[in-house]
Subunit: 368 residues, 4 copies
């Protein structure tokens, strides 16, 4: 056993010396940063890094193979660069800093992030009476957030593209009438101001998650943004999209998981339920789940809404239509108001504490 | 309006005549089936179908384009063939027939399918004392199903491949000692009998979901089978894999969703939570979720276990190890017994009625 | 055999009667269309369809089960609706009509679609001298199409976002100097006109393939568009994106396969090589392959460029930088001019007739 | 500039000292390995590593944050463990060692890996005359490798499962008659010996790539193995599957890319063409492409076969049937012999030097 004990002691010493050298390097690199910043020079110098690596490889006598030395020093360089740069991954504004409290977004007294909520309404605004019927029904169920598209991004240029500005006016009128907050999609930088003038919350759709100019624009405008995850986006890309909005000065962001594209065919998309706790853990923003677009069929909405709340979601978005059979878009996945009421009741039975409870929530709404 | 009304009447008549013709065809085809079966001839005759299509295309005068006629008649032919064949999609044994009750699998008094359960234990059996420590702890938490691998399918041939037969004996001894039912993986047709002699439930792993010879063999043996979904399998393929076991005479099957492979990198796999209600709806078998393999990290197990039960799962499988830091496989995703106890308590708080309640369940266990 | 022969005759008769009824229906439906169009009514009437189905199910006496009848009539209804609508799938303008010739796009005498071409240049325009060095080198290799980004869509808001308008001016100057045609990306509807004033071909990047407002805008502007496939887009969605541009009046579209997102990790994306012959077959547009973004590493560009041309691509896009080690974006995937020259020579050796042959092509270039 | 120059010198010194310490550590760790191996102890000691990390974190005074120190030392520990272990990634037998020559597999004089080849034949062996017709036709085209399944892995237990042992005998007889080498699939460890007694090359299908017991068994038997990539396997997993065969003593392995499962719907699978140059680069084994299963449709086989050879494939596998219309499996993707001949001629026109040239190859075949 003697040999092993002695070797361990020597390795411990080696550890300490490595730590000292690394700390020394950290100090050198901090000086370098100060110098470079004064001169306005780039912190990362790929040529210099390349030369250092070449010299080290030349000097390497083993026993570590060259590739291992190269890879270890690349890690050291990366860590040094991390020290130098102001905006590292850890410092994205969207990330939760230690001890940070969950953000609560408050629009005219309706909150997201304080307790669970439904965001419901038709896929598209199709008319004043139609929307009013849905909003009245949802309102009776305690729903305070009304969704409805005025500009619709459709795969085909020949599909119904939404009612446009008239749709915005209808949405605003109906939301006001029922004391609800409206959520509607923005498609173009040129019309973002117009949408913001009529809506409570601006939605960035899944196809526009990486439309960075649009993200900057809704960041600049400053109204709360419901940002949908791209159906092909990693969580890292999703958070960087939110960062675009924050970098433009707007922190009122609601993150929305809405299903990703996979090989699975039984549902329209695959609901990535793990994204909910991951986003809650890594950010301080409200996280919601759009179950309707995740699966694209009515028969799974109830268990998935329950699962979303159980996983910690702050809200569930569901498409509800006054008469789904004649809906101009997404006909097969929209619920009637009665079906929605039944769903909400079932969900409350499964997860009593974690699901929206309409009556109590009503008090929360100021008269608008 | 007159014209539209009249046209509608004519279209209704056309509908009725089409229905009559289709029913007539159904009768003709049923006769054909009887004749063919007597002669032992194949029901599907691609040449004949090809000729019929050619003749119809030749006769087509419009207004439907040829492709539309071809496609409509292919549907008619397919429907006719469906009438002829005994084993259509609808008649797979694995499918839930109308009004069918949920299957309850009972192994020595421990049930799956009656109320929610945990299946827990280490990734691999690593020794008698080690497994006993885990089983004792789980047992105190009311867990009645003990998992543990004796034969491990590992990506590299140089990784730990499991304790083999000795592992089986340890698993049996420990399960018996604590009145638990063991679940362990079968890797090879040649050793399936041996595994069955020691284990309560035979597991087919995700890599072997389409190892059809192995499915036939565990079907023949007749012990309950926990069938994991292939990480690349559609639900249709999953149900056909279960059908292989049923076709060999064994209906005691537990379906296990364990995550699928997608582009997402933040979790090891992507938990396809929608599969739970879909499998419950389409089959009458117990459905469980292996949350450990779905995500491959400890920090998401609690919200996902809650989500799985909320979505209707009959069980949740979790890897629990006596000392995860030194686990021979899956070290980063296994919980300690204490961590498992905390998880179970949290899950019960979120979904009181839908989560396993250890004390009540204990009465359910006969002494073995 | 008698019975079978007789049954076949009866089935043939049944076929003919079905065909007659379907054709009759086609005629009725065409009348209906004319009536409805005069009144400006919607062609699709989901309520009416719903009622017809209910009536048919009620009338169904077997032997076909109700689901089969429902599904067959849905096909009939769909075919009828197809007859009624002007813009069916088959009539998308982007689709190749029978006998249509391949489209050749000609920009100042440089063609795409006549013979194979390279489109090469740096990821981003980084300065006048830098771009000039690359353009001079490429020009000597017979490359006539110069790529370079002035507006860069970057995952992080803190990454280099391109030189903007200055980059556009540099690109124009360098392209003019070397008699090349420039290709550069458009990110925003508000700056599309500006980009068009400086560039020969407007690129829509992979993240903006479904930015429909941007597609309409480049359609309206009318300059040739290089449309990249979304990295998570089906070919159907890709063709509909092209259709947006055509519907706005612009048929000069180059389709670009650039890799899709899959579970594979050894390359940045997965080059969907099958897309090349599929797009060539289904459309009449030039099809190119961006091999640099498809794999994101230098060592695979040569075999993949050869594969792309062998599969029928009209062009291959490759990132070439004056000094890849210090590139501001995509450093690891850009070639030097010499590496590009070696690649082009190797590709010509593998597929002599199908690869670009610089000298001959030179004659093709008018002085600009 | 002075400050920067001086800091650079100090950083260079720091580099050198780090290198010295790392080399010293390498020596210590090598001693440790020798000691541990004598005692038969495990090289990896997670507890010790855990303790070292805790001590280092305690000692860390900055400026690097604790996470960075933890991550850097983990890299150092991993590198050390790499030194200790005999079987690191770099030392997998399947990897190409520097300067290694490409392996040529020779079965009765027919080679794979020397020049491009086709492997062709029906999906399933369906009868003696049927197979003979195909083999005669292919033989006239210079094809020397005859594929045909006797045991078929089918999604449904009620689909045709192959002719079994009779199929093996037919395949052997026909291959012998035409001087061809047969390739056929092995499904079960229990029948592997039987298949090996009749076939020239044993195929492991895509669903069995991770059936490790079967891999060990064909490794033990020693006949050449055509290993298909799992349709959801990374290249790393693919190479480890080959390593299972090599570890069991068999180096005669042909790697086969056959398409992966993605979100794309226009082809049955997505041909991962980049896998060809990646596998050629990383291993010394012959690499082929199964274009029929990759796309599942006839109209794309020609451009994809050309692309495969252009990318460097040693062979292309294509399903050819005596009468595809009546094929018992894969009817829609099999070519007739004449269609195959036309394909081969087109491919030779596109890539003259890289495609199989039947006549010259004939001389290569010894009489068997």
């Amino acid at each position: 056993m003697n040999g092993v004990t002695e070797l361990r002691r020597l390795i411990d010493e080696n550890n300490e010396k490595l730590l000292d050298l690394l700390s020394e390097r950290g100090a050198l690199v901090s000086h370098m940063r100060n110098l470079k910043e004064k001169k306005g020079e780039d912190l990362f110098d790929p040529r210099r890094e390349h030369e250092m690596l070449e010299r080290l490889i030349k000097a390497n006598q083993g026993p570590f193979p060259d590739e291992v030395i190269r890879s270890l020093f690349k890690e050291v360089f990366k860590a040094s660069l991390g020290l130098m740069s102001r905006k590292t991954i850890e410092s994205l504004r969207v990330y939760r800093s230690p001890g940070a409290k969950d953000k609560v977004i408050d629009v005219s007294g309706v909150t997201l992030g304080r307790y669970p909520q439904y965001i419901a309404g038709p896929c598209s605004v199709e008319g004043l009476d139609e929307l009013d019927a849905v909003a009245a029904g949802l309102s009776r169920q305690g729903v305070r957030l009304l969704r409805g598209g005025a500009y619709k991004p459709r795969t085909s240029p020949y599909s119904f593209q939404g009612m446009g500005e008239e749709g915005l006016r209808i949405l605003e009128e109906v939301a006001t009438r029922h004391g609800m907050v409206s959520v509607t999609e923005v498609l173009d930088t040129r019309s973002a101001e117009l949408v913001a003038a009529h809506a409570g919350i601006l939605q960035i759709g899944t196809r526009n998650m990486s439309n960075f100019e649009l993200l900057k624009e809704v960041g600049r405008i400053g109204k709360p943004v419901l940002l949908k995850r791209g159906f092909m986006a990693t969580l890292d890309e999703f958070l960087n999209a939110a960062e675009y909005i924050m970098a433009a000065g707007n922190n009122d962001i609601i993150l929305c998981e809405r299903g990703i594209r996979t090989f699975v065919k039984s549902t329209r998309n695959t609901l990535d339920i793990s994204a909910v706790p991951l986003l809650k853990k890594n950010t301080y923003l409200p996280v919601i789940v759009d179950v309707s677009h995740a699966v694209g069929r009515k028969d799974l909405l109830e268990p998935l809404a329950a699962a979303a709340f159980a996983a910690g979601a702050d809200g569930v978005m569901i498409e509800v239509h006054h008469d789904p059979l004649v809906a101009k878009s997404d006909a097969e996945q929209q619920l009637t108001v009665n079906e929605f009421a039944a769903l909400a009741e079932s969900v409350r039975r499964i997860i009593p504490g974690a699901a929206p409870a309409p009556v109590k929530r009503m008090e929360d709404v100021k008269c608008v």
